[in-house]
Amino acid sequence: MSVSEESFALIPLPAAHVRAWDESVVVYDQRCGETHVLQPPLIDIFQALQAGPMTPATLFEYLEQRYDATEGDLEDAMQAGLSQLRQHDLIRVSPESRDA
């Protein structure tokens, strides 16, 4: 049986269009010409997704290792960050299939 779970993936970005400086990551989206400045905790979500697509659960685990926050606060921050990245159109959500 196959159960689908959404996963998040960054849109393809040329390396030269992503610059990590101090407390910010600057991203240029050549599809629309927008320049985005990402700051924590958005940076951590963005950098996690640079390694490859992630489900909310794996992303949460990744963030949990970096932030000393309650589970609820971290979940809220992660959802807010994902929502912002979606607003910027920098991530895609896709169903992920796995055997259960």
Binding site: P14, A16, H17, R19, W21, D22, E23, S24, V26, Y28, Q30, G33, T35, V37
Partner: protein, 301 residues
């Protein structure tokens, strides 16, 4: 050097070819004011007729026709025979030429990321100073250019998308209002043209770039400092570090063609940020601010 009579004849006939950094401007005009100003400011940049078969911009400054102009004479700017602006009073013909040339460059020079900024250089390292009107940018630029820095540009930073370096566009520095007398008093030997009063920017007079800046116009310079000046009357002069992401947004916000040149423009701007010390300058006293800028560059020029 071209004799004044030759200059006048060519200006009125086939046109003068003027080398302005990477561009060649073919200028025609029968206006005495244009003739005098070109002879004063661009005498070292005139090309021999045979040596300039191609021009980037074909510009004409002419007196407007029509009944109204009998008692209110006006000058009109033409690019390739078309006039993109409304005419200005004849007394503003020379500022109109300079502003019109800004427009020509901003509309066409997309081999560069163009930023509304002054650029100066010391020891091959460029200082880029974007500035809003009233920021004191032109005053600082004039004072630096007259005290040992090489002037690349007063109004336009041309950042080559190919080399990532700043390309010189040596043109007269546009001084406004109180800055005119300030620079005259500090540098009595500086060549400053006649003032045009009651322009949209107040009183305007142009400062001729030092000869050495014109002679080296084809030398590019790598970015080293990105400084955003802000005039603060009665404030204190200070340089402060600026976050690089914020500096990038301010830099591209001052660009004429960031949205036109796309990813190449972002890469050029981001590379400039990475190669530069990014600072804000609160500017109240000219000597104090010049001291701060010179200190950043390693001492007096």
């Amino acid at each position: 050097m071209i004799a004044h009579e030759d200059l006048k004849a060519r200006l009125r006939d086939a046109g003068l070819a003027i080398q302005v950094g990477p561009f060649v401007v073919r200028l025609r005009s029968q206006l005495d004011r244009i003739e005098r100003s070109v002879a004063l400011f661009y005498d070292r940049q005139l090309l021999p007729v045979d040596g300039a078969p191609f021009a980037d911009f074909h510009v004409t400054l002419a007196r407007s026709s029509g009944l109204r102009t009998v008692w209110r004479p006006q000058a009109r700017f033409f690019l390739d025979g078309r006039s993109p602006f409304r005419p200005l009073p004849l007394a503003h013909a020379y500022p109109l030429f300079e502003w019109g040339l800004n427009w020509c460059i901003a509309q066409h020079a997309h081999d560069y990321l163009m930023v509304h900024a002054a650029v100066l250089e010391r020891d091959g390292r460029a200082l880029v100073m974007p500035g809003e009107p009233g920021s004191g940018k032109s005053t600082l630029t004039a004072a630096l250019a007259l005290s040992g820095w090489r002037l690349l540009s007063d109004e336009f930073a041309l950042l080559s998308l190919e080399t990532g370096k700043l390309v010189a566009l040596p043109r007269p520095v546009s001084l406004k209002n109180a800055a005119i007398d300030l620079i005259r008093e500090r540098h009595p030997r500086a060549i400053i043209g006649p003032a045009s009063h009651d322009t949209s920017k107040g009183t305007v007079a142009h400062l001729k770039p030092p000869d050495s800046s014109i002679d080296r116009m084809h030398q590019q310079a790598g970015p080293a400092w990105l400084v955003f000046p802000r005039f603060s009357a009665g404030g204190s002069d200070r340089l402060q570090p600026l976050d690089r992401a914020e500096a990038l947004l301010k830099l591209v916000g001052s660009s004429f063609n960031y949205s036109v040149v796309g990813g190449a423009g972002f890469e050029a701007a981001a590379n400039l940020i990475e190669q530069s010390e990014c600072l804000t300058l609160e500017y109240a006293d000219l000597d104090a601010s010049l001291g701060l800028l010179n200190a950043v560059a390693g001492g007096p020029a």
